[in-house]
Subunit: 155 residues, 2 copies
DNA sequence: TCGTTCGCTGTACAGAATGCCCAGTGGATT
DNA sequence: AATCCACTGGGCATTCTGTACAGCGAACGA
């Protein structure tokens, strides 16, 4: 489960050129093809690599507005709220967090006006007491993993 | 830029079986290979598909703790803070949001104790006035895009 | 120190996929 | 009616994949 330097380099390579094949990767890394294959298999069965899903940009899909909503939940309604939020396509992500028994979710919308509709749909549910929303203006650091991989591979 | 039904189906298919090839995808979708190729090219140059980067699980890398930190920034220090946070590997994501000229960032750490170290490193910077952190306990809805794709493709 | 295990190398081969090209067809646009 | 466009279905040379196998050196336990 520990990640060594070769694993790290492989992950970096895959992050930069995702459509690369095993053979080409082995050439770039200067190792045998079988090695890359074995490492890849191991990383995947380890769960380090969850998959290679296409990275879809919501903005390009017509949802350029992103927001984070903090939800305050009525006691014991957690499961119902989870189920409810799962049915809203604009809810991209949902976490339960420490604090006031709260949840944090990431939303997208077609416009600021549309965000109101989304929020209404999200909070229009009995178990949700209150919601506070922060609209994202900039995204100086888009979701990234490589720096962490580098750090993890230097052990 | 609008996504039609075939695009939607293709994205779903890629999300479920990422390592699928163009030929196999065309078989599943019941269209010609050239069509899938053309759609894929279009989706990528559209920016709808940003890439196919490996989906790495921080937990499997030894960082099982996730947290969201809301940062209050000193006026005019935004750029410095961005630059600072970029250098911290445990900062997976950073957004500037409406509100109190704040930022929201996603952090990971090796443990709850380690989270303290990460937070210290994050807020140990002059431009940051205050930080409030919410530790993630559960993740009922992991980052997803397919429901949104489905909705977008039904226009 | 010996024997074993493990990961990596280098090679091989059949089957499959890719990149690229082209002619034909049907629907929509002008 | 002419044109454009996306899709189809086919072909071809090149490349990659999946799989297998023998050899080699390092690490490890007996």
């Amino acid at each position: 489960m520990a990640i060594d330097h070769l694993d790290g380099a492989l992950l970096e390579l895959l992050a930069e050129e995702p459509r690369i094949g095993v053979l080409e990767a082995s050439r770039r890394l200067g190792v045998a093809r079988g090695t890359v294959q074995a490492r890849l298999d191991r990383l995947q069965s380890n769960g380090v690599i969850r998959g290679f899903g296409p990275d879809v940009d919501p903005a390009a899909l017509g949802y350029p507005v992103t927001a984070f909503a903090t939800l305050e939940i009525k006691q014991g309604q957690g499961n119902d709220v989870r189920a409810h939020l799962t049915t809203v396509p604009e809810v991209l992500e949902l976490h339960t967090t420490t604090g006031h028994g709260d949840m944090l979710c990431r939303l997208v919308a077609r416009s600021n006006a549309d965000l109101q509709r989304v929020i209404d749909r999200v909070v229009g549910f009995d178990g949700i007491v209150r919601a506070s929303t922060a609209i994202v203006m900039e995204n100086p650091v888009p979701l990234r993993i490589i720096p962490l991989v580098k750090q993890a591979s230097e052990d």
